[in-house]
């Protein structure tokens, strides 16, 4: 098994800082959805991870903990994520994206 980043929507959606999206070395891996937080009744949208692209470096954990001081990202074993975003299930809109979450495990 391997680690991928996992964003706590509850924390992230109360902050709206979007900082980690500018620091992940991989393209289109930390994505942002305006709906993800608001749907659950929070004030803002949330960052989320396209786990099929995440290389598990934890650079974003440092950014969220030490720069943003929000502690919203934890590295998690991929088989411990019941649902996650995958590139195939991400839709781009004008200013935001939406993601249908699904099990990241194949089969």
């Amino acid at each position: 098994m391997y680690l991928v980043a996992n964003v706590n929507v509850e924390i992230c959606a109360s902050k709206s800082c979007k900082l980690c999206t500018q620091y992940c070395p991989e393209a289109n891996t930390i994505q942002y959805s305006e709906e993800m937080g608001k749907e659950q009744g929070f004030k803002y949208g949330s960052a989320y991870i396209a786990v099929d692209r995440c290389k598990g470096c934890a650079l974003c954990v440092w950014v969220c903990d030490s720069l943003a001081k929000n502690n919203a990202i934890k590295m998690t074993m991929i088989d411990q994520l019941p649902k996650a975003a995958l590139t195939d299930n991400i839709t781009y809109g004008d200013k935001s994206t939406t993601a249908v979450l699904a099990s990241p495990m194949v089969g």
């Binding site: 979007k18 500018q22 620091y23 393209a27 994505q31 942002y32 960052a47 470096c57 720069l67 590139t87």
Partner: protein, 297 residues
């Protein structure tokens, strides 16, 4: 090179992979995208085999987002880690032999001017410190002395990363590397000073822990190179493998190095300042209003 090359050929749309469709429909082409919109548009850069947590990867990602006209840009690279990612973007990439990149870019930018006249076609070289300051040194310097109008970006990880840790001219004195076990005996080369002596119109240092600054220097460098002359950006892009930096500490290292030897510096020639102001509406080079000048008396 135009918006046409990112469109679908008739009838092929339904056969294209999702990433390609996203890129055509929601990519950065033909509109302005910024670093602060990251995570909400499809980037030109795709997946690639560079190491997890590599700061060079982050820098390349930011640089590509910052290109003012991605649909009218050609990147030139050479042997070294960076080409593994630069070549995986929806932007034409020319691979020069190791060290040839500034010679290749010289011919390319001249050819594009002959072919397209005044319509801007941007050429951006991105190569490692070994490729730029050692193996490509004479071609880099000569392209600057000739005032070739393209941008040179050094991805300075202070080592030959792709081949397992040999010292380069940009390695710091005393650094011990896997294939430089006695420690480097000479000082880090001052390529910034050389760029100024050789007549570059814009010279800047930058570290990727400040994404918006990366965006700003890339934009200026590319715009100035359209008409004024050569531009040079030297970016600290650590190699976490050869310098054993834990990947979750890569940005902390960037901060430390920024404070130590990579403070932000920017040189803009007078001609380039005037050009950015008049042609692209930059305000930062205008004379400061009298009230804003602190009273020294």
């Amino acid at each position: 090179m135009s918006l046409d090359y990112v469109k679908f050929s008739n009838g092929f749309e339904k056969f294209m992979p999702k990433e390609y469709r996203d890129m055509v429909e929601h990519g950065p082409f033909g509109k302005k995208v910024t670093v602060s919109q990251m995570g909400s548009f499809k980037e030109a850069l795709e997946e690639h085999p560079m190491c997890a947590g590599c700061a060079m990867t982050l820098f390349i990602r930011l640089a590509i987002i910052a290109f003012p006209n991605p649909e009218d840009t050609i990147t030139v690279g050479t042997a070294g880690c960076g080409r593994l990612a630069i070549s995986q973007a929806a932007i034409p990439f020319v691979y020069g032999n190791y060290g040839d990149q500034n010679g290749v870019a010289s011919g390319l930018s001249r050819g594009l001017r002959l072919r397209f006249g005044d319509k801007p076609k941007d050429v951006v070289v991105m190569a490692g410190d070994g490729g730029t300051a050692d193996i490509g040194f004479q071609q880099v310097l000569h392209s600057w002395f000739r005032k070739e109008r393209f941008t040179t970006i050094m991805l300075d990880n202070e080592v030959y990363g792709n081949t397992g840790g040999q010292e380069s001219g940009m390695t710091n004195r005393g650094a011990v590397l896997k294939m430089a076990p006695l420690g480097k005996k000479f000082e880090k080369m001052d390529m910034l000073q050389m760029a100024k002596v050789a007549g570059c119109a814009y010279v800047a240092t930058v570290v990727p822990n400040n994404p918006r600054r990366v965006e700003s220097v890339i934009k200026k460098a590319v715009l100035i190179a359209r008409e004024v002359g050569s531009t040079y950006i030297q970016a600290y892009t650590s190699c976490n493998i050869e310098y054993a930096i834990p990947t979750d500490k890569v940005m902390e290292d960037a901060k430390t190095v920024e404070n130590d030897r990579y403070q932000f510096t920017e040189y803009v020639s007078e001609e380039a300042k005037q050009y950015l102001t008049e042609r692209y509406g930059y305000k930062e080079f205008l004379p400061k209003p009298a009230a804003a000048i602190p009273n020294k008396a």
